[in-house]
Amino acid sequence: MTVLGIDIGSRSIEVVAMDQGKVVEKRQAPTTFNPVAQLLALLDGLDAGLAVATGYGRKLVQDLDLGFPVETITEIKAHGLGAHHLFPAGRTVLDIGGQDTKALSLLPSGRVGKFEMNDRCAAGTGKFLEYTAQIFQIPVRDFGAYALGGDKPPIINSMCTVFAETEATSLMAQGVRPENIALGLHLSIARRTANMLSRVGLVLPLIFVGGVAHNPCMRQLLSEQTGAVIGETLFIPEEPDMTGALGAALWGESLEAS
């Protein structure tokens, strides 16, 4: 029987369909202001015996009448499961998503040990990058490559999204190269993230998941800040934003089996 993993995040919705432990389908769409309609469109044509929902919209899914039972787990557990499945050797997971950053330590069994989450504001999340990329009038997906063009990043002190923008603008006015400012902004997130990782007791290998893991500059800085080597002790899935939905689907499979 097919099980679905559904991850409703603040930015995007992912669906993973699994059958006998094999991923048979993956879908993704932006969350928008109407997540329910987006989800229903994504589920079109998919049939399942069970779904597991995760992410901030998990309760939303549970309240829908989808014609099959829906269980929920938190995104912490989902990312832990997904990351462990992709990279069984990994011991720490970092997820930088649209609005949340989470760090979690994995026990050798793949269970979550300790975890940390960012506070209520958007500091250090994908939202921060999205917001600051606007100042450069660069699409957020190109922002990382652009920042890699910098070589002397200024220190950006403010982690508040609004104040960081002010700081960046005033650095521009002082004539600092924009690529350097962009690099500085990335660095401020990488530092903050490394702190969060050390609070859960960073043990390598580290698995970097969530949408921001697509960003080449964040990958490189994270590697520098943690001493993890990309491909050896720093693992990044091919589709990092699918990890939560994958974990949810895996949980569904384990519920099926029991």
Binding site: Y56, T74, E75, K77, V112, G113, M117, D119, R120
Partner: protein
């Protein structure tokens, strides 16, 4: 709530009637959502539902009647203020709650913005003329437990009849001497206010009254520890909160009745939560009425709270005052002794709290401890780090949360709490 009947009384207390109506509306809704919606509540809880529904009505009327008979009303914010002394001069002591986000903007004109929600709340209630308890007080007793409160009382004293006790911050011999001097100074102030003398006879009786209430709450705490838990943590929190403003003798009798019902439940093997529900202990800052946010989040995520290591919990009830004193002097010494056992985070060092938290977590066989600190509360935030280390070393999972009285972080809290429960199960 029969609000009309009390309107005149509220007007005489100079409350802002419109704002007060709003507060009662919110409180009623909140109470309904968080309490009345629980399944399988005990009959004994009806007493508490009644007390709470009449919290601004009947109980205030009782206070006004007591005042008419010449008794004085003493308001307090901390479990350090010895209630025995107030009872010994026939005064009524009420804990002033400070658990809601009311009058925050007004409060921020007297205290800095980065002050904990509890302090802002008691100031806000006063400035917004919302609390009939605050308005009924003849004396409000503060204490120097943390810098925030200490400085806030300076500003507050311009708006309320304030008296401040100096609580020492160490437990050395000289600190004990200071505390005794402060207890005697407070006693003199109460005698002056009421025109009555604290006698050995009166104090002995007061000590018994307060001990009896502590014993009833201790009994409740023993009973709730059963598996499956026979009563929700939310209900026990409410009981502890009510203990601060209800009449002590009536309260003690009601809680003992409730405990009898709990015993029947335990014998019948009935619980409010399934046997295998994760057992959680809360630890940290006090939770004044109507601060029920976190307990609600925890219990609606499937766990049951089986203990509160807090001033609205075991910190207030763990230790009794020795009842064997014969002379006034001996009784005062016994009181001082008892209050100096309080393991508030304001003490340095405060090793006994670490022991107490660990022992309690192990005795209650909890699956995890959730530490609760109000944002900007230095003492508990500092100790949170130490408590977490101690618990981890002892093999007890724990998590620290910092929050305030607003509702904007509720989804975040849910995710954190649920994820924590996933890791301990």
């Amino acid at each position: 709530m029969t609000q009309e009947a009390y309107r005149e009384m509220w007007e005489n207390l100079n409350l802002d009637i419109a704002a007060h109506d709003g507060l009662l509306g919110v409180l009623g809704k909140f109470y309904g959502d968080i309490y009345m919606s629980q399944k399988g509540r005990l009959q004994g809880m009806e007493y508490l539902d009644f007390v709470l529904s009449e919290v601004h009505g009947l109980r205030i009327k009782e206070l006004q009647d007591a005042k008419a008979q010449g008794r004085k009303i003493i308001g307090t914010f901390c479990v350090f203020v010895p209630e025995e002394l107030a009872l010994a001069v026939d005064a009524v002591q009420v804990g002033l709650c400070a658990g809601a986000d009311a009058g925050k903007e007004a409060a921020e004109t007297l205290v800095p913005r980065n002050t904990c929600a509890l302090i802002k709340s008691f100031i806000g209630f006063k400035l917004a003329r919302l609390c009939p308890y605050t308005e009924s007080c003849d004396l409000i007793v503060g204490e120097t437990t943390c810098d925030g409160k200490k400085k806030a009382y300076e500003a507050f004293s311009e708006h309320a009849p304030m008296y401040v006790m100096e609580v020492p911050q160490t437990k050395t011999e000289s600190a004990r001497a200071l505390w005794k001097a402060e207890v005697l100074r407070y006693m003199a102030r109460l005698e002056e206010l009421t025109g009555r003398k604290v006698t050995a006879e009166k104090l002995a009786e007061a000590i018994k009254t307060v001990n009896a209430r502590r014993r009833a709450l201790q009994r409740l705490n023993r009973l709730r520890a059963a598996v499956p838990a026979p009563i929700s943590g939310r209900d026990v929190l409410l009981i502890n909160q009510v203990s601060f403003y209800d009449d002590p003798i009536r309260f003690t009798a009601s809680i003992n009745t409730l405990c009898d019902q709990l015993e029947e439940r335990i014998t019948a093997g009935e619980g409010v939560a399934p046997k295998d529900a994760p057992r959680v202990m809360l630890s940290g800052c006090p939770m004044a009425v109507p601060n029920w946010k976190l307990p609600y989040v925890i219990e609606s995520s499937g766990a049951v709270i089986v203990g509160e290591e807090s001033c609205i919990g075991t910190r207030n009830t763990r230790d009794l005052t020795d009842e064997s004193g014969q002379t006034l002097e001996e009784m005062i010494d016994a009181l001082c002794e008892r209050y100096m056992k309080i393991d508030c985070a304001c003490f340095t060092p405060n090793a006994e709290r670490l022991d107490n938290v660990e022992t309690m977590a192990k005795d209650l066989k909890v699956d995890g401890v959730i530490q609760y600190a109000l944002m900007f509360c230095q003492p508990y935030a500092h100790e949170g780090i130490k408590v977490e280390k101690r618990l981890t070393a002892g093999g007890v999972p724990s998590m620290s949360l910092e929050t305030d009285y607003s509702m904007e972080d509720i989804e975040q809290l849910k995710t954190r709490v649920e994820a924590f429960l996933e890791t301990v199960k």
